[in-house]
Symmetry: C2
Subunit: 707 residues, 2 copies
C-alpha cells in the first residue's frame, strides 16, 4: 500500500478528534439567558467580520487563481485554491468553536477551575488539531492525487509548482487574516480601553462600554482565527519546502520518494502524539494551570521523540543507509532523526526563553514593573530595552540549531528539523487557542454579572493564556525564521536547476550560475531591500491600529454623548456599530500592507533586471529573501516578547505590587500595555507570514519565468 | 613636491580656522557674574566627566596598545595611539569651546538673534573643522611618515595595518564617548525631567533642580564631545578603508599611489570648502535660522562639486585615463568624480528625508502630535510607527547610491562616494555642534533669570538645533552604513590576498578561497549573529539610561528631602553630587556594551573555527560584518528619526497646538519625548560606531592572523 494513505489516515484522525471535542464542548452547560445573549452578540460579530474578511480575500484570491492558472497551470491554480480554502476553513471552524466555548467556559468556571480549564482547552485543541490535520491532509492528499491519480512523476515540475502554489494559497490567507484580525482586535482593545478605562473610568469588559463586544470579537478573529491561519501556513509551507528540497536533492534516485514522504510522515506521527498529548492536560493537586498545559506539551514532545525513531526506520527501510545528495553530502536516516530531535530541542528552548522574557516571576517583567514607579516614560523605555534584548537568546538558539543540523545532514537536515518543530503545531496551537476562549469567558462573566469568584477563576486562566500566547508567537517566529531558510534554499536550488537546464527553460539561457556572494553589490542591495520590508510593514501596521483605535474612541464618545442613559445603565449601547465600524476599518487597512510582500519580489526582480540584467536580478531577489528574514526575525521577536512583557508587568502591578491597581505605577503600566498591544498582536505576528509570503512569491516567480 | 604636503596644508588650515574662531568667540562678552558662575559649574562638570571618561578609556587603550604592538608591530600600535588621541582631542577641544561659548551666546542673544547665532555657530564650527581637520591630518601625516620617512612601500602591509590600527583607535574612543556621553546626558535629562517637571512641578532648567547643571553638562559631553568622536571615527575609518581598497585594487601599478592619494585629496579640498561655507551662514531678512544654516551647507556642497573636478584632474593627471583594477573592472577619473557627486546627492537626500520625518511642518511629527490627544499610549504607538517607517526612504537612497556608484566604478566607486559624503563632515558637524551651545545658552538664561525675550531667542535657536541634530545623525548613520560596506569590501579583499599568498601568510595555508554565498549556512549564521548585535547593544544601552535616570531621581529626591530650603529658593542644591553620580554611573555602564562589538568578532571567529574550521570561520565572520550593518542601519535610523519626531511633536504642542503646554496632550507628548531621548541620543547614535568597530576589529584580526 502507498504509505501516503497512512498519512491521510492520521490526518483524518485529527478531524475525528475535532468532531469528538466539538460535540463534547457543545454538550456542556451554556449558562443563563444573559450569558447566552452576550455570547450570541460576540458570535454574530465574529462571524460577520470573518465573512467580510474572507469575501475581500476571495476577490484577491480569484484574481491570483486566474493569474496562476494562466501563467503556470490548472493544477497549480487548484493547489493555490486548496491551500487558501483549507487555511480559511481551519481559522473559521476554530473561531466557530471558540465563540461557543467561551460562554460554556464561563459557566464551567462557576463550578471549578478544572472544569473551566477542561472546556477552554478542549476548544483550543479543536483549532490546534484542525490546523495541523488540515494542513497535513491538504498537502498529502493533493500530492497523492497528483502522483497517484494524475500520474505525474514525484519530482515533476508540475508537482513541485502545484505544491508551492498550495503554500502560496495558505500564505495569502494568513497575511490577510493576521493583519486584518490584528488590526480589528487591537483597534478594539486600545480604543475601548482609552475611552472606557481612561476617560469614562469604567472597568474593562463593562457592559456600558459600546466597544466591549467588539473587544471580545477581536480576541476570536485575531488571536484565534488569525493565529490559526498563520500556523496553518507555516506548517504547510515548511512541509512543502522540505518536500521540494527532497525532490531536488535526490532527483533521479529512489531516495527522492522517501525524502518527499518523510516530512509528511513526521507530520502524521506528530498529529497522533498531539492528540494523545491533549489527554495529559489535567490540573494537578497544586492547581497550576501552566503546569497542566505543559504536561500536555511535554507528553507530546516525549512521545514524538520515541515514535519518530520507528517512523524514520519505516520510511527509509533502516537507520544506517547512506543517503547521498547531488552535491556530494551524505548522511544516514539516523542523522535525520537526530535533526528532528534538534528541532524538538529548539522548540523547547524557545518556549523556555519566551517564558523567561514574558513571565511575571523573572527579571525582565519585574524590571518593567519597577520602572513604572517613575512614570510612563521610564516604563516604555524599559519595555523597549527588554524587547530589544529579548531577541538575542532566540537568535543564538536558531544559530545553534542551524549549525548542529547542517553538520548532521546539510540543508536537508535543517529542513527536517523545522518540519519536526512544526509537527508539534497541533498541541502548541491548542495551548494558544485556549487563550481567547478564557479571555472571552472573563468578559462574559463580567458583563453577565456573575459572582466575583467566577471572574477570579477566568482571570487565572486568562493570565496563563497571556504567557502561552507569547510562547506560541515565539515558536511561530522561530520556526518561521528557520522555515524561511528552507524556502531560501529551495529558491537557490530551483534556480540552479533552471540555469543548468536552460535549453529546456529558455528564459534562463545565458543567465549562467547565479552567485549570492556578499561581495556582490546586488546581493547587498537585495539584503537592504529585504531588510526594510519588515520595518515599513511594521510601521504601516502600527499606524493602522492607531487609526482604528481613534475611530473607536470617536464612536464610543458619540454614543456616550447621544445616549446619556448608557452610563447610568438604563440604555443599551449599540455594540453592533462599533463592530461594524472596526470591520470596515480593519478590512480597509489590511490591503496595502498585505500586498507589500506579494509585490516587492516582483518589483525588485524587474527593477534590477532593467538596470543590470537577469543574473544580477536573481542575485538581488535571493538576497532580498534573506534580508527579510534577518531583520524580520528580530523585529518580530522584539515586538512579541516586548509586548508580552509589558502586558504581564501590568498584571504584576495589578496583583498588588508597586501600589497595585489605581496607583501611578499602574497607570504607567497601562500605557506600556497599550503600546505593547499592537506590537505583540498586530505588527509582530504579521511579520511572520510576511517573511514567508515574500519567499514563496519568489519561488512562484521562478516557476512562472521557467514556464 | 609630494602632493601629500598639500593635503597636510589644508588640514593645518582647519586648525588655523579653529584658532581664529576660538579667539573670536572668547573675545565676546561673557555676561554677568551669575551667568559666569553657572557656566563655570557646567565647565567644571564637563571637564571632570571627560577627564574621568578618558582616564577609563586610557586604561583599556593602553592594554590594546600593548596587544597591537605585541601581535602586529610598533607602527600599528603608534597608529592606534594617533587615532585614539586625535579623536579624543577633537572631542575635548570642541567641548572646551562649547562650554565657554554657551554663556557668551546667552549674552549675545540678549542683543539680537543674529549675534546669538553668530557665536553659537562659530563655536560649533570649531568642533566641526577640528573633527574633519584632525582626522585628515592624522591619516595624511601618518601615511606620509610611513611612506616618506620610514621608507615603506605605499601598499606595504605595514602601511595598511598601521592605517587600519589608526582607524581602530578612533573607533574605540568613539564607542566609549558615544555611549558614556549618551548615558550621562540622557540619564540627566530623563531623570531631571521626571523629578523636576513631573514630581516637583518646576520648569526645565530651573536652578532649584539639583540635576539641572548635570543636564547642561550632558549636552556638552554627549551631543558635542560624543558626536565629535563619532564623526571623527567615521571620517578616519572611511578614508583609511578607501585607501586600503585603493592599495589592494591597484596593487603593483602606478595608479596605486593616485588611488591612495585621492580620498585624502577629496578630504583636503572639502576642508577648504567647508571653511568657506561657514562664512555663508548669515541670517537673511526673513530671520530663518534654518535657512541661514542651510546657506552654509549648500555653499559648501556646491563649491565642493566644482572644486572636486580639478582635484580629480590633478590627482589622476586627466579625466579620461583608463584605470583598471585587478578583477578587470575599469573606469575613468571622470567616473570617480561622478561617484563623488553621487555621494553629495545622497547626503542631500538623507538630510531632506530626515528633515521630513523630524520637522514640525510635516505629516510624521503632526501625526504623533495628533495621537497625543488620545493619551500616552497612542502617542508612543504612533511614534514607534513613524520610527519604523522612517527607515524605508533612507534605505532606498542608500540602495540607489550603491547601484549608481557601483555601475560607475565598482566597489572603489562606492568607497569614493562615501569619502565625499564624509568630506563634508566639517560643515555638517558645525551645524550640529551648534545645538548644545544654544541648548546650554537657554539653560543659563533661565538659571540666571535673564529677561524672557533672551530665553525666546535661545529657544528659537534651540528648536533648530533639534532638527540639525537629527539631520546629522541621519547623515552619520547613512554614511556609516555605506562606509561599513567599504570596510566589508576591505575585509574580503584582504582575505583574498592572504589566501592567495598563503606561502607567505602561513596561517592561511589550506584555507582556500573563502566564499560568502548566502547558500552557505555559516554565512547565514554570521548574518544572524551580526544581526543580533545592534539589538542586544541597544537593549543594554536603553537599560543603562533607565538605571542612570533612576539614580538621578533618587538623588534629587534625597536633596529635596534633606534640604527643604531648596524648593523655596533659600538653599543652593548640591549640583556637583548629581554630576559626580552620573559620571560614575555612565562610566560604569559604558564598559560592557562597548566591549560587545570589540569581542564579538573574536568569539565568532574562534567558535566557528573550533566547530567547522578556518574557511567556515572566515565566512561566518565576514557575514557577521554585513549582518551588523543590515540590522544596525535600520535600528539606528529608526531610533534617531523616531526620537527626533517625538521631540518635535512635543515642541509642536508647546507652540499652542492641541491644547498647548499643560494639556493632557502635552503630558502624553512629554512621555513620547522621554522615550525618544535614549532612543535618539544614546542607543541609536552609538549603533553607528558599533557597526564600524565590529568591522575594523575583523580587519585587525586578519592582520594579526597573517602576522
Amino acid at each position: 500500500m502507498n504509505p501516503l494513505y497512512l498519512v491521510v489516515l492520521c490526518g483524518l484522525l485529527s478531524l475525528a478528534y475535532g468532531i469528538w471535542a466539538v460535540i463534547s464542548v457543545m454538550g456542556s452547560d451554556a449558562g443563563n439567558k444573559r450569558m447566552q445573549e452576550i455570547a450570541g452578540a460576540i458570535q454574530e460579530g465574529a462571524q460577520a467580520y470573518l465573512a467580510r474578511q474572507y469575501t475581500t480575500i476571495a476577490i484577491v484570491g480569484v484574481l491570483i487563481f486566474a493569474i496562476v492558472w494562466w501563467q503556470l497551470s490548472m493544477f497549480a491554480a487548484i493547489g493555490f485554491a486548496v491551500g487558501a480554502i483549507l487555511s480559511a476553513a481551519a481559522g473559521f471552524i476554530g473561531m466557530l468553536v471558540s465563540v461557543r466555548a467561551n460562554v460554556r467556559t464561563a459557566q464551567a468556571a462557576s463550578q471549578s477551575l478544572a472544569a473551566g480549564l477542561g472546556i477552554a482547552f478542549k476548544a483550543g485543541a479543536v483549532t490546534g488539531l484542525l490546523v495541523a490535520g488540515l494542513a497535513l491532509l491538504g498537502v498529502a492528499v493533493y500530492y497523492l492525487v497528483l502522483t497517484e491519480y494524475m500520474g505525474f512523476d514525484r519530482a515533476d515540475r508540475m508537482v513541485v509548482d502545484s505544491l508551492v502554489a498550495l503554500g502560496f494559497g495558505a500564505s495569502l490567507i494568513s497575511i490577510f487574516a493576521r493583519l486584518g484580525g490584528g488590526i480589528f482586535t487591537k483597534g478594539a482593545d486600545v480604543g475601548g480601553d482609552l475611552v472606557g478605562k481612561v476617560e469614562a473610568g469604567i472597568p474593562e469588559d463593562d457592559p456600558r462600554n459600546p466597544a466591549t463586544i467588539a473587544d471580545n470579537v477581536g480576541d476570536n478573529v485575531g488571536d484565534c482565527a488569525g493565529m490559526a491561519a498563520d500556523l496553518f501556513e507555516t506548517y504547510a509551507v515548511t512541509v512543502v519546502a522540505t518536500m521540494v528540497l527532497g525532490a531536488i536533492f535526490f532527483a533521479g534516485t529512489e531516495t527522492a520518494a522517501q525524502a518527499m514522504l518523510y516530512p509528511l510522515a513526521i507530520g502524521a506521527a506528530c498529529v497522533v502524539t498531539s492528540i494523545i498529548g491533549t489527554f495529559f492536560v489535567r490540573l494537578g493537586s497544586n492547581n497550576s494551570i501552566m503546569g497542566a498545559l505543559y504536561k500536555g506539551f511535554i507528553a507530546t514532545a516525549v512521545l514524538s521523540l520515541v515514535v519518530l525513531y520507528p517512523v524514520t526506520w519505516y520510511v527509509f527501510g533502516g537507520m544506517d543507509a547512506t543517503l547521498t545528495i547531488a552535491n556530494g553530502t551524505s548522511f544516514t536516516p539516523l542523522d535525520l532523526y537526530l535533526c528532528g530531535i534538534a528541532g524538538l530541542v529548539v522548540t523547547g528552548l524557545i518556549i523556555w526563553i519566551t517564558e523567561y522574557y514574558t513571565g511575571t516571576p523573572y527579571r525582565p517583567v519585574q524590571s518593567i514593573a519597577n520602572s513604572s514607579v517613575t512614570g510612563h516614560g521610564t516604563n516604555v523605555i524599559q519595555g523597549l530595552a527588554i524587547s530589544l534584548e529579548a531577541t538575542a537568546l532566540p537568535a543564538l538558539v536558531i544559530i545553534a540549531g542551524i549549525i548542529v543540523t547542517f553538520n548532521l545532514a546539510g540543508l536537508f537536515g535543517i529542513a527536517i528539523a523545522v518540519t519536526t518543530m512544526l509537527a508539534l503545531a497541533g498541541v502548541v496551537v491548542a495551548l494558544d487557542a485556549f487563550g481567547p476562549v478564557t479571555d472571552n469567558a472573563g468578559g462574559i462573566a463580567e458583563m453577565a454579572d456573575l459572582p466575583g469568584e467566577v471572574r477570579n477563576t477566568t482571570d487565572a486562566l486568562d493570565a496563563v493564556g497571556n504567557t502561552t500566547k507569547a510562547v506560541t508567537k515565539g515558536y511561530a517566529i522561530g520556526s518561521a525564521g528557520l522555515g524561511a531558510l528552507v524556502l531560501f534554499a529551495a529558491y537557490t536550488e530551483d534556480l540552479k536547476y533552471f540555469t543548468a537546464n536552460s535549453e529546456t527553460f529558455t528564459y534562463f539561457q545565458g543567465v549562467g550560475p547565479v552567485e549570492f556572494a556578499l561581495s556582490n553589490p546586488y546581493v547587498v542591495v537585495g539584503l537592504f531591500f529585504g531588510g526594510l520590508l519588515p520595518y515599513l510593514f511594521g510601521g504601516i501596521a502600527m499606524t493602522a491600529v492607531g487609526r482604528a483605535a481613534s475611530a473607536v474612541v470617536e464612536e464610543v464618545r458619540r454614543q456616550f454623548r447621544e445616549k446619556p442613559g448608557i452610563m447610568e445603565g438604563k440604555e443599551r449601547p449599540d455594540y453592533g456599530r462599533a463592530v461594524d465600524m472596526l470591520t470596515r476599518a480593519a478590512i480597509k487597512e489590511m490591503i496595502v500592507p498585505s500586498l507589500l510582500p506579494v509585490l516587492s519580489p516582483l518589483v525588485v526582480y524587474f527593477l534590477i533586471y532593467a538596470i543590470a540584467g537577469k543574473n544580477a536580478a536573481f542575485s538581488a531577489l535571493g538576497a532580498m529573501l534573506l534580508g527579510v528574514i534577518v531583520t524580520g526575525l528580530f523585529v518580530a521577536i522584539s515586538m512579541t516578547a516586548g509586548g508580552g512583557a509589558w502586558d504581564n508587568a501590568k498584571k504584576y502591578i495589578e496583583d498588588g505590587n508597586h501600589g497595585g491597581k489605581g496607583s501611578e505605577a499602574h497607570k504607567a503600566a497601562v500605557t506600556g500595555d497599550t503600546v505593547g498591544d499592537p506590537y505583540k498582536d498586530t505588527a509582530g505576528p504579521a511579520v511572520n507570514p510576511m517573511i514567508k509570503i515574500t519567499n514563496i512569491v519568489a519561488l512562484l516567480l521562478l516557476a512562472i519565468l521557467a514556464h
